[in-house]
Every structure is written in structure tokens, then in C-alpha cells.
């Protein structure tokens, strides 16, 4: 890198209040234009609110990148059925750590977004489905909802508009699969969290077989600013097809891991530069653009624009923008084995390709990592992954295949090395945080 990256590429909007005093409190949020977007939305017709979000071009921040306004538009109107809004706050994709800090620091921005979205789709009961394993976040959400009821933002006749809204915070109980929207709905109905066959899609038959919109936390939290500051302002960030700002989460072997809010389309090279680079004395080996389910990248991909199109064109997916950085001390076979064990553990068991396939992937990867495999195992690995990918009931299976395909594409030699070496050639101690501290101390 010859030129230093200008810090002005960072554009904190969602994260802007986080360094203020008690940003989780309503008083603080109000100082940051809190609930101004809601007031503007309630002054508009519901269809106009949907159109505004469509015009802004906001795309889902939970992984798939589906246009949020279009999703809202799918909810049939005048059907006489209750409508539901469900926020997917089950953040569990390995590497993903954006919604949890957002809700912990400023739960009100999510609640304001919920009210606007519920108003738009004509829903009188909304739910926030929060993964259970984050009690401090649950505490803040419960309190913020209480504050919002007391202030007249929730309950009957929201701000005198005639619109009624109940908001229920619901804690999950530990299951990655519940991040899949139809599994989440089954779970919210008090069942085992297993995905549903589609069609019918949730917009037609979702929660309690009624029209339901399921949106990610960050998508919904982006709505108040769009309502308050307008479509043009939102579109001034990012690109034509990927407008707006978003939270990029850097983790792993990087000097300053954390949340970097920037317009869609920044590159990892720019973000790494601001983050102080890869830890001292090391270089990047592989990374994920959006969690473990998105095919991994290498140092060849540092200049890929991190937006939906850019990452897609380079052979992966933007996903949740969970940028997990692994340096050259990390064994890719070990990394992929561990992710695969995760998918096997979290497979809900409903469909055969995923349930059986992830089990066999683990068996094969285990012997490969120990150096007890054969070269034929590599073909079997690809074959099994191919039988899961696109043939499973839901995207969990596709996610399980991603690290297999991409690691073999870029690091096949390293798998072979395990065979030749009759074991793993890497020292796991060299990858730890304290190993780097040690290096730092000696330098």
C-alpha cells in the first residue's frame, strides 16, 4: 500500500451514537434524531412508505441481499388476515457480529424501524426473535421496548396516528438453523426449528399461516434514517445497485478488529489499512467476505468491491459482511474441518443431503487433517459437497459446501501436503492471540 486510506471513507450512521452516554436509552436516542423517521413515516400513506424504501434501494443485510421494500410489497393487502413483522435477530453465522453490538448499543433504532415497517405492511403485532445466548442484549431490548411503550411509540394509537402495534421480544434457545426465516417461524410457533417447504412463501403464509415479513436487524435499523433523511441522501452512499451504508465486521488476525461502517463497495484493502493491517509480521492467507457460508477469498481478492455485485462477480457472496481474516499461520484444513463440524452439529436433520452429507464431510476432513486420508478423499469430499449444495432443503446445506469448494479451489496443495506430511504441518500455537503478543514483545 503506497497511499494511506482516507478515514473519511468511513460513514458512521447506525454506529454514530455508540460513543455517547448511555446510547441504549431513549433520551440519548432522541438527541440523535431518534423517532424522527417514524413521525415522517406516519404522516405518509403506507404504500408511500414502502415505495420510499424501494426507491432507496435498501437490500437485506442478513445475507441474501433481497430488496427490503420489495419484500414489504409482497404482503397482500386487504386480505382480512392479520399480518406479522418478524425481526430476525438470531445472529449466528460464524464470523457475524454486527447485529449484536448494534442492539446492545442502540436498541431503539431497531424498534423505530420495526414500527415503521409494521406500519407499512399493516401489521399490528411484531416480534423480535433474538438468539438466546446474548442476555445483555436481551436486557437492553426488553428495557427499550418498555421505554417505547411508555413514550407512546408502541401500543394503541402510536403517536396519535390511529395505528396500533404490539411488539414482543422473544428469546430463542440455541439453534443456528433458526436464522433461516422459515425455521425461525416454526421456532416462533413453539416447534423444532426446521425450515418449511416453499411455496407458500412467508409473505403469503408465514407466522400462523398469515402474511409475514421477516427482516434482518440491520435492514430494519437502516429504515429510520432513510425515512428521516430521504432517498437521495441514502443513495449518496454506495453504488447504483448496492446503495447505502453498512456495518463491516473485521475479526481475526487484524490489528484492530471491530465494526467499520462504510458505504457498500469499499474494499478489504481499504478497511485493512484503516484497521492497521494484518497483525505484525504476518500476511493474509484467506478470508471470508460474509461469514463461513460465503466462499473464502485469498490475498488476490483485496480489491474486490465489497458490495452485492462485486463479491458475487468474484465468486462469493457479500453475506453478512463478516470479514474473518486468517494469516499464514492458520491451517486451512483445520479451519474448514471446524466449520464443517459446526454445520453437522447445526443441521436440523430434516433433509437427507444435509443431515448425512455434513456427517460424512466431517469424517473425511478429520482423517485428512490427521494425514490419514488419501488423494481419492479429496474427490469424495467434492462429490459429497456437490450432493449437498443446491440439493438440500435450505441454505444451510449450501453454506456447508462453500468452505469445502473454495478451500479446495485455492488451497488444494495444502490438503495434499497433509497427505505427504502424514499429518498437519501447522503449529496451532502460532495462530493464537498470545503468540502474536509474544512476537510483538520480541520485536
Amino acid at each position: 500500500m503506497t497511499e494511506a486510506t482516507d478515514p473519511a471513507i468511513l460513514t458512521p450512521v447506525l454506529s454514530a451514537p455508540w460513543d455517547d452516554m448511555q446510547p441504549w436509552r431513549l433520551d440519548t436516542y432522541l438527541k440523535h434524531d431518534g423517532y424522527q423517521g417514524l413521525k415522517k413515516a406516519l404522516a405518509k400513506h403506507q404504500d408511500e412508505v414502502i415505495q420510499t424504501v424501494k426507491d432507496a434501494g435498501l437490500r437485506g443485510r442478513g445475507g441474501a441481499g433481497f430488496p427490503t421494500g420489495m419484500k414489504w410489497g409482497f404482503i397482500p393487502q386487504g386480505d382480512g388476515k392479520p399480518h406479522y413483522l418478524v425481526v430476525n435477530a438470531d445472529e449466528s453465522e460464524p464470523g457475524t457480529c454486527k447485529d449484536i453490538p448494534l442492539m446492545y448499543a442502540n436498541p431503539h433504532v431497531l424498534i423505530e424501524g420495526v414500527i415503521i415497517a409494521a406500519y407499512a405492511i399493516r401489521s399490528n403485532h411484531a416480534f423480535i426473535y433474538l438468539r438466546g445466548e446474548v442476555v445483555p442484549v436481551l436486557r437492553r431490548l426488553q428495557e427499550a421496548v418498555k421505554e417505547a411503550y411508555a413514550a407512546g411509540y408502541l401500543g394503541e394509537n402510536v403517536l396519535g396516528s390511529g395505528f396500533d402495534l404490539e411488539l414482543t421480544v422473544h428469546a430463542g434457545a440455541g439453534a443456528y438453523i433458526c436464522g433461516e426465516e422459515t425455521a425461525l417461524l416454526d421456532s416462533l410457533e413453539g416447534r423444532r426449528g426446521q425450515p418449511r417447504l416453499r411455496p407458500p412463501f412467508p409473505a403469503v403464509e408465514g407466522l400462523y399461516a398469515s402474511p409475514t415479513c421477516v427482516n434482518n436487524v440491520e435492514s430494519i435499523a437502516s429504515v429510520p434514517a432513510i425515512m428521516h433523511k430521504g432517498v437521495e441522501w441514502f443513495r449518496s452512499f454506495g453504488s447504483e445497485k448496492s446503495p447505502g451504508f453498512t456495518l463491516y465486521s473485521l475479526s481475526g488476525h487484524v490489528k484492530r478488529p471491530g465494526q467499520y461502517e462504510a458505504p457498500l463497495g469499499v474494499t478489504l484493502r481499504q478497511l485493512l489499512d484503516l484497521a492497521g493491517g494484518v497483525r505484525e509480521g504476518h500476511r493474509i492467507k484467506f478470508w471470508t467476505p460474509g461469514g463461513s457460508s460465503t466462499p473464502m477469498f485469498t490475498d488476490e481478492h483485496l480489491d474486490v468491491p465489497l458490495d452485492y455485485e462485486g463479491v458475487g462477480a468474484a465468486g462469493s457472496m457479500l453475506g453478512t459482511k463478516a470479514l474473518q481474516i486468517f494469516d499464514e499461520t492458520v491451517c486451512v484444513v483445520r479451519a474448514v474441518l471446524r466449520w464443517t463440524e459446526f454445520y453437522a452439529h447445526e443441521s436440523c436433520g430434516k433433509c437427507t443431503p444435509c443431515r448425512e452429507g455434513t456427517y460424512w464431510l466431517v469424517q473425511i476432513l478429520e482423517r485428512l487433517e490427521k494425514g490419514e486420508g488419501t488423494e481419492a478423499d479429496l474427490e469424495t469430499l467434492l462429490d459429497v459437497a456437490d450432493n449437498i449444495n443446491g440439493k438440500s432443503f435450505c441454505a444451510l446445506g449450501d453454506g456447508a459446501a462453500s468452505p469445502i469448494f473454495s478451500s479446495l479451489k485455492y488451497f488444494r496443495d495444502e490438503y495434499v501436503e497433509h497427505l505427504a506430511h502424514r499429518g498437519c504441518p501447522f503449529d496451532p500455537a502460532a495462530s493464537t492471540v498470545w503468540a502474536s503478543n509474544l512476537t510483538g514483545a520480541q520485536a
Binding site: Q22, H125, G132, G174, R192, G252
Partner: protein, 238 residues
């Protein structure tokens, strides 16, 4: 008769006073949903708050409250990892061993704690204070390696910090996480998860808005020191 270790059915009910108290709580939870079955996950957290695990009595209670069979309830309870099927420690110590945390040192932390506590995965110390478990990604990767105790964050853990942590828990000391409120017991935590807010009014304001990684981008954008500890926004006007 040979004891095969099978549960005695029907499971014994709760004592009348406990039952009355739980029924009141259960009705409140059920009332929050358009359809009663949606309250099943909260009810399972509730019975876990009572006994420290989801017992056959707890399953029977949930089934009766919701008009389900115990088989239905058992099917749900066994699907989710946060429900314990046998009693455990007052403090659930979870070490993230998903790829990123594992690589950054989570594997070493987990091995250290197993050795230090003399228990395996899901094992409980003989004093009943700590249950150790390796857990999956807990959405705090920018703070890796991460240890969770009763689902509160202990960020940037090391083998030494994790050993000190469990020693303090076993010694009965009050421990505070790096983000969040001072720890309460597993049962008390389960009650919050059921949907009854923490009775400690101050708890919600404890633990700040996030550590250095949460604020790093914001600080760089503002031209501030990105490495400064995030101490300024803990608590009221601190």
C-alpha cells in the same frame, strides 16, 4: 425389578405453591402471543429457571399449560442447545471453539479449563458451581477468543484469564463480564430469557455500550484514538 434408569412416568408434579406461582408466570407469557404454543420456548426457559434444567416435571407442566403432549414438548426441548437435560452448575461457562475463536486461542482455553476443572465437555465441577461446555459462534468475533458465562460476554479471553474467572466463580465471588451486568446464577438468567426482565433495576445500564472493537470504526472516522479503552461510557455520566 431391574432399574433401567428410565424416567418414572407420569413425572411428579410441582408442589402446590410452586405450581401456583409458575402458572401465574406461564399465563403472563402465553398472553403475549396470538397463539399459545408460541410461548413454549419461553415456558421451557421458565421451568429451567425453576429447577436449573428441563426436568420431566417441567415438561409435563409446559404440556399441561399449552395443551400439548409431553412427547411434543420433549421433541422441542431436545432440539435446542440451551435447554439442559440434567442439572448443572450455577454458572454455565461456554468457550467458543468455532473456527475463528478456536484459531485465536479458544481451543487452548477450552483445553486449559478442562484440565484445570477436571471435567470434560458438559461436565460439572463436584461443588456444583461450574458447568463447562464448548459453544458455537456467539456473535462476538471481533472480541475473539470469547468465553460466555451464563450468556454474558467475557471478551478477549486468555487461558490465564479463563482460569482466574472459574476460580472466582467457584470461590463465590461476584464477577462482572466485559460487556453486560454482573453475573447472576443460571436459574436467574433463565428467568430473564423466559421474558421476565432482570429484577436488578441497575443491570440494564451496566457494562457500557461496547468495547474498543465496537467503537473502532466510529473513532477512526472522528479522528480519535482508535485504541483508547472504551471506559467513558460505562454507567451514568461516568
Amino acid at each position: 425389578m431391574t432399574d433401567l434408569g428410565m424416567p418414572r412416568l407420569p413425572a411428579p408434579g410441582y408442589p402446590a405453591d410452586v405450581r401456583a406461582r409458575l402458572e401465574t408466570d406461564a399465563r403472563e407469557l402465553i398472553g403475549r402471543y396470538p397463539q399459545s404454543r408460541s410461548a413454549l420456548l419461553p415456558l421451557l426457559h421458565l421451568v429451567q429457571a425453576e429447577e436449573g434444567y428441563v426436568s420431566p416435571s417441567g415438561i409435563e407442566f409446559c404440556a399441561e399449560m399449552l395443551g400439548l403432549t409431553t412427547a411434543d414438548v420433549t421433541g422441542v426441548a431436545t432440539f435446542y442447545t440451551m435447554y439442559r437435560r440434567q442439572n448443572g452448575g450455577d454458572f454455565h461457562v461456554g468457550v467458543c471453539t468455532n473456527t475463528l475463536c478456536a484459531v485465536m486461542g479458544g481451543d487452548e482455553i477450552f483445553a486449559t479449563l478442562k484440565d484445570h476443572l477436571g471435567v470434560g465437555n458438559k461436565g460439572t465441577t463436584p461443588d456444583g458451581s461450574v458447568t463447562l461446555e464448548h459453544i458455537e459462534c456467539n456473535a462476538a468475533c471481533d472480541y475473539a477468543p470469547v468465553v460466555m458465562v451464563n450468556w454474558e460476554f467475557f471478551d478477549n479471553a486468555t487461558p490465564a484469564s479463563a482460569k482466574d474467572l472459574v476460580d472466582e466463580l467457584r470461590a463465590g465471588k461476584q464477577v462482572s463480564p466485559t460487556r453486560g451486568a454482573p453475573l447472576c446464577t443460571f436459574k436467574e438468567t433463565s428467568r430473564i430469557l423466559a421474558g421476565f426482565p432482570d429484577p436488578r433495576a441497575e443491570a440494564v445500564d451496566q457494562g457500557g455500550a461496547g468495547g474498543t472493537p465496537s467503537l473502532v470504526g466510529l473513532r477512526i472516522a472522528k479522528g480519535q484514538d482508535p485504541d483508547a479503552p472504551a471506559t467513558t461510557q460505562t454507567g451514568k455520566g461516568a
